[in-house]
Point group: C2
Amino acid sequence: MSAVPGTFSRRTYYMRASEIRELLKLTEGRDIISFAGGLPDPRTFPKEDLAKIAKEVIEKYGDNALQYSPTPGVTPFRETLAEFLNSHGVSVTKDDQIIVTTGSQEALYLVSLTLIDDGDVVFVEAPTYLAAINAFRVYRPRLVSIPIDEEGMRTDILEEKAKKLAADGFKLKMIYTVPTCQNPSGVTMSRDRRKHLLEIAEKYNMIVIEDDPYSFFSFEPLNVEHLKTMDKNSRVVYLGTLSKILSPGLRIGYAAGPKWIVSYFELAKQMVDLHSSTLTQYIAMEAIKRGLVDSTVEKAKKIYKEKRDAMLDAMEKYFPEGSHWTRPAGGLFVFAYAPPGIDTKSLLPEALLRGVAYVPGASFFVEGGGENTMRLNFSYPTIEQIYEGIKRLGSLIAEKAGKR
Amino acid sequence: MSAVPGTFSRRTYYMRASEIRELLKLTEGRDIISFAGGLPDPRTFPKEDLAKIAKEVIEKYGDNALQYSPTPGVTPFRETLAEFLNSHGVSVTKDDQIIVTTGSQEALYLVSLTLIDDGDVVFVEAPTYLAAINAFRVYRPRLVSIPIDEEGMRTDILEEKAKKLAADGFKLKMIYTVPTCQNPSGVTMSRDRRKHLLEIAEKYNMIVIEDDPYSFFSFEPLNVEHLKTMDKNSRVVYLGTLSKILSPGLRIGYAAGPKWIVSYFELAKQMVDLHSSTLTQYIAMEAIKRGLVDSTVEKAKKIYKEKRDAMLDAMEKYFPEGSHWTRPAGGLFVFAYAPPGIDTKSLLPEALLRGVAYVPGASFFVEGGGENTMRLNFSYPTIEQIYEGIKRLGSLIAEKAGKR
């Protein structure tokens, strides 16, 4: 038997394998300097402490930590998370609800599953986070992209587009944003833009998804408030994760937002995976309580700042005139613009042959454009690899730019 | 702001909170003997060994065990699982693919997401597993239920209904079955019925989902083969879980089936949660390798057989004439039929007042019926609680039956 028409659901037409994951498969086990991933540096993992915590948690709380647990998460862990968020400037009140998810990817998927109908308008940044787009696309929204500059999303353009689309009768459903140390650009949205974004959301009755994997370890003071904290109208849902600030292998993400929204995520999660790992929730709870997340963040900040500085320095040295790039205050990525006319997607095979990988940027732009862009990860490679890889990439781009 | 029409997706209309989970919330923290859950007895958890393994795994393999991992699962763990399944009579060949899921609930959801379109016919047993139905319903199949008897699904009725529905132009998509120690009934499908079921699937080009959480710890020799093993036409997907045979808190399920089907689950999972916990996959891998699953199964079998025997004995003693029940060879449940006319759903509040809980059976029947049935879990309560709870329940039913 082989696949016959009609075997798989129509939904599968709108699922696509992530280009990044497919690309990573190609480089696996080869001697390639990869700027393509988004992996934390394993040196940041507090292995000894987590080993100790895991053992103690099973010994002490095994009857519960090894058992089934409630769909929204282990209750004391959710309380710990709420305290943790409040102490880090993310306001979580009694009108909010926290749901623990299997990585923040599941939170993105629950957003998509419970909110998006065919044709609903979802505003995203250009460029934006690819895995979010992939989770949204399956339920066929009208993805509308808003350009960013050094102050983040251009809310003036958001306002214009919202006005026009509303007038044309479209249902404006939500704004998805990574406002702080954005993926892929590294840019942070300014205070005024945040305020403006919330006003627009209120005017057009949209839900705001604030995806925030990176703000905990910015290398420089950001001087902004979280959208969740600024929200006075119960329309912002905050998504977070322990992947970058403790360990991705625990697979713990979370959504914190108004009960009237998050209760729907819970309903959906019951059906999707019933609950996330009880054991890793207990481990994460103890890690937060013992200050292990805060100390991991401090360690990671130091390592990543050095790596970011190395990458910016290497780019300054090796990238040809006509290219430019972001100077991220946090996060794991630099977003680079090769000289106009260079197509980073068709350049990739040659880059791989020279032993360096990156993610072509075009797929981060949902309405086209960005053909000359690329996302460069600096958290995983070593400093030596960063210099060597950027050197190789820089000369390749210089050659191509010269040839045109 | 509060929910306005059109805020949530149309899909949310077809999501429903599990009655069982809502019910369990009611009984939480109260002095009630609960036969309503489906929790393993925590005495079966190999706490000391798992504590040791968790510590060692993080110390030794932390760079990988705490990191992101591939969507279908940690590669050596999938190899370990394939060996484990083959050595326990579940044939997994080179044409098959295994995907690790966040509990087997996620596998059920991936089945639903990738296979079911509006109106597709999905055959299920009557009664069947509620959480599977809930995962299927969101994509609006035509659920068609096939009665069971002591030999499992009545495949003669399946054949009749398939013939009629195919003639009427319906798309016959799949058969969902828990063939071994079924939930909720405890019944095991006979060898002949299994063969017949596969013939019908072949004739009407249907996919078969063999959901098997319980066969590893049957209390009596079952003398049947797995549908996956009998399948010669690459159409059976086998779903398993470590929840019942090691620990639910690790949240590790898996699907093993033909690549042409399981590759779609992988595509969908990338979007749903990217991957399941890396750490708990490493822990599970070591547990299987060190024989901890096999020893847990042996321990659990002994404990659950005693409890099953206690429940059957108590029912014999305390349940009134006119009631009958299954005698499960494995699993966690007895399925009971109160005398006709007794409505177990409306009886429940009074049962709770007398300090005993169960799940009314009607919701396990997707096309109605079963109003006088109930599912009784014996794995979690103690033997003393089983006798006391069944006594209370028996007298309540007897009173009601007498009054009519």
